[in-house]
Amino acid sequence: MPMQKTLKILGYLVLVLIVFFVALEIFQAPKFEAVVNVVDGESKVGINPTTERLDFGDLSRGSTAVRFVDLKNESGFKTWMYVRKTGELAELLEVSEGKFSLTPGQEKRLEFSLRIPASAETRVYTASVRIWRLPQPL
């Protein structure tokens, strides 16, 4: 009986640890702010002042711009990655791969491309991009 109780407690502990770890990974997921300023005119492309942000600068309607995010799996586990985009700009932002796995030490370059449609208003559009990571045991 005490053995069963100990196993039960251990089971709960493992479960709590898994939930805690998953929650931690979700909340600590790398986050990038994507921003673009839609301007009047044709073929106007601004400069990208930083690489930490997915800053597409000034773009006019019909223009396309690409930004990159480099990822490296620095954990000792094979990791499942999921790219989640939210916000107004998310609908216009295309990512080269949304779901993939990385083995330990593996690197990957994600390509974010943005095309400004003719129906966009001349103003700033933003989105939030999060990259969720979860260890893949099998």
């Binding site: 019909g62 609908e91 216009l92 449609p117 003719a118 129906s119 966009a120």
Partner: protein, 137 residues
């Protein structure tokens, strides 16, 4: 077991009857469509489910969103010009107009509610999974 058979009959009945009833009510063989591209952004978004009313006997007007048949399948775009028996359309998000199409190729108009197309976000994605290549662009 009898309950299961009854549920099955109801589900099959609904799946079979609803599209046929809608086709009859809306006067088109294609009463429901999924939006598969962003060419009408932000009016219609990729993954939206929309309803189409047949255009037989109705007049087409500039500014209306129509569905027409073309070599790629179906397209949902806005009418920008009427040229006799032909219509010129354009996706709101596109910079260029489409090639003119015969009015006979227009199969319907989007159903609107308070001047805006009636759309059900994300529901079209289900249809897109089952009908790859047949949904409007």
């Amino acid at each position: 077991m009898r309950k299961f058979a009854l549920y099955l009959i109801i589900i099959v009945g609904i799946s079979y009857l609803v599209p046929r009833a809608l086709a009859k009510i809306l006067d088109t063989p294609y009463p429901i469509a999924a939006v598969t591209s962003s060419s009408m952004w932000p009016t219609l978004k990729e993954g939206d489910l929309i309803f189409i009313r047949g255009t037989r006997g109705t007049e087409l007007k500039e500014g209306e969103i129509v569905v027409y048949r073309n070599e790629k399948g179906f397209t949902i775009h806005r009418i920008v010009k009427l040229q006799g028996d032909r219509v010129v359309t354009k996706g709101d998000a596109n910079l260029r107009e489409d090639n003119p199409v015969e009015t006979s190729d227009v199969i319907g108009k989007t159903i609107t509610l308070k001047g805006k197309p009636l759309r059900f976000p994300y529901l079209g994605k289900i249809s897109m999974r089952f009908n790859k290549g047949t949904n409007p662009q």
